[in-house]
Symmetry: C2
Subunit: 345 residues, 2 copies
DNA sequence: CTGAAAGCGCTTACAG
DNA sequence: CTGAAAGCGCTTACAG
């Protein structure tokens, strides 16, 4: 049976509304609403007439209108750094799965590490009245979200803590993971270990550096400041930095990479190096085990970050008046070869 | 200045509305609307009073309500296979960037390769009245979207063609790419080449197989049916299949991998193999150049797929009454070593 | 079992 | 320059 077309051009293309269905079925608007929502109290005969009208007109309920009246949009907003970054893929998917289990859809977008863009995106999501917001911070001042949170937007920060406001945050144990990774290199006999990490204004970068320093200190090892470098993770800078640490009279014999982008660049640098240099990287990545040597990493569970954060979000949405918490997820050292190389010479 | 809290619990938490702002500023509702939307015709003094009221109440326009009245939601829906799949990351991001350039937000979700879930998700997006829909098909019958498209939902299919309906589709040149990749192996001297690909109901799988057969035929080479295998890309199946092709009296000396998941598994299989076996894979992947040998691939431009599809979407949204097109994007052979290994013996 | 009226928070079309 | 009324497509609260 062909769908009948309507003569007038409406908004939303030319969709039939409940009113149209009601008219065609010869019933009241509320009865259509009952049938569409599976509410009780409609005779089988009436229900059948309504269903036929729905079918004939190709009616599909406008959830945007529904949402306006109901007050909840069944939508979760996710602000991440980059939709294309493989690290956030599993996190993204985990958020989606939890949201889906609660019947909610996901609106997401990238901040591109730009605090202004993060803000713009987060506030646009609030304007759409998402029920909850999950934010991977790019900026370090989130006071702009305070009115939104007070107005009822459940908000959870992931991967990095919120700046200057008190809110739920779900993190990996960046400090402990880095400390263990560096201790692993020390256990292999290294004394001169380089640390190459992200910009110092990024929380994970400084936490991981703190782990490095703590492990060195615990082993009674001095740290030359030339072994430590925070900054851009662009390949050019990382390569140059690493080259500097490998040159001179007291070269490093091992590297700890502050994140996966740094790790990958260091793999390239070390492949061109004559002597073997050990490497442990923060963050696991696909195919790390296929390289020769395999790359030893401190792995975080990105999917768990997303899952825990979204669970927390829906706890708040369920009405629990919870105090803000900081949840820290453990990391896992995965030894594959590169971190077990002994010091050269 | 602290935001005043309202006594009554409203929907959407307890947000002030334009009506509240109007009351506080002592103006009409429409005047608030004018100020909020930057429309002309408000005296500076009135405008100032409205701004103060907005500030004091912490008002933020409800875009959900706005959208109901305006008819367009400034939202694009994206149905992909898996939010966590690195292949779709750049595509996802490209769709976001184009949407953002048009002032639209992105709702996305995973079909998990399940046609029912694809349908459910796509229709949920239509119920939210997304302006447009980008679909990476999991199923092969998309007639369920016909009423939606007729009702004005701009729809573009990506990566795989739509099933049983006439619609825009943006694809890579799967046939030509595979043909060139296999020809590359033939040029290196191979005569017995295995093809391991995805399930035969997946369009890209059969197109790439067609490319394989065409290249073999063009070179006058026979194809033993034992060299060709379509099916699950699960590592267990791919490994077993590859082992079979490498055993026996006339083993293959090279593989063409039908997609990146197959490629990765084949890399593992071949690493354990005594003799060198050549490999060309469809789809590029991060670090392919860092493996030894580097992996030769037929690369598709996932970001371009997303960009072209979303551009098309917004052309339709701009009102152009365009006939459905099929856009095919070229692939690129990237030689890195594994595809240039000569036949053993 | 059924439906008319009011309202969600905005914008549109119109009048002053 | 300004605002009251109607309406977007639904649901809620109520009456019959």
């Amino acid at each position: 049976m062909p769908h009948s077309r309507r003569a007038t051009e409406h908004r939303y293309g030319n969709r039939p509304t409940m009113k149209d269905v009601a008219a065609r079925a010869g019933v009241g608007l509320k009865t259509v609403s009952r049938v569409v929502n599976g509410e009780p109290g409609v005779t089988p005969d009436t229900e059948k007439r309504v269903h036929e009208a729905i079918e004939a007109l190709g009616f599909r309920r406008n959830d945007s209108a529904r949402v306006l009246r109901k007050g909840r949009t069944a939508t979760v907003g996710l602000v991440l750094e980059d939709l294309a970054d493989p690290f956030y893929g599993p996190l993204n998917r985990a958020v989606e799965e939890v949201a889906r289990a609660h019947g909610a859809l996901l609106i997401n977008g990238s901040s591109a590490e730009d605090p202004d863009r993060e803000r713009e995106l987060a506030l646009a999501l609030c304007a759409r009245r998402v029920d909850g917001l999950i934010v991977i911070p790019a900026g370090d001042d989130h006071r702009y979200l305070e009115p939104e949170m007070r107005a009822g937007v459940a908000t959870v920060f992931v991967d990095r803590p919120a700046g200057r406001i008190d809110a739920d945050v779900v993190l990996s144990d960046n400090f402990g993971g880095a400390r263990d990774g560096v201790a692993h290199l020390i256990a292999a006999g290294h004394r001169r270990i380089g640390f190459v990490g992200d910009h110092p204004h990024i929380h994970t970068a400084t936490e991981r550096l703190r782990g490095y320093r703590t492990a060195m200190e615990a082993a009674g090892l001095p740290v030359a400041e030339s072994w430590v470098s925070l900054g851009s993770t662009a390949p050019a800078r990382v390569s140059a930095t690493a080259a500097g640490m490998l040159a001179g009279p007291g070269p490093v014999t091992a590297f700890f990479a502050g994140n996966n982008r740094v790790t990958v660049t260091l793999v390239r640098v070390l492949a061109a190096e004559a002597r073997p240099v050990a490497l442990v990287g923060f963050d696991d990545f696909e195919l790390a085990d296929l390289l020769r040597p395999g790359i030893t990493v401190v792995a975080q569970d990105a999917a768990a970050l997303g899952r825990v954060a979204t669970d927390r979000l829906f706890q708040r949405l369920a009405g629990a008046d919870l105090p803000p918490v900081r949840l820290e997820l453990p990391t896992r050292l995965v030894a594959r070869g590169s971190g077990e190389i002994p010091p050269a010479g």
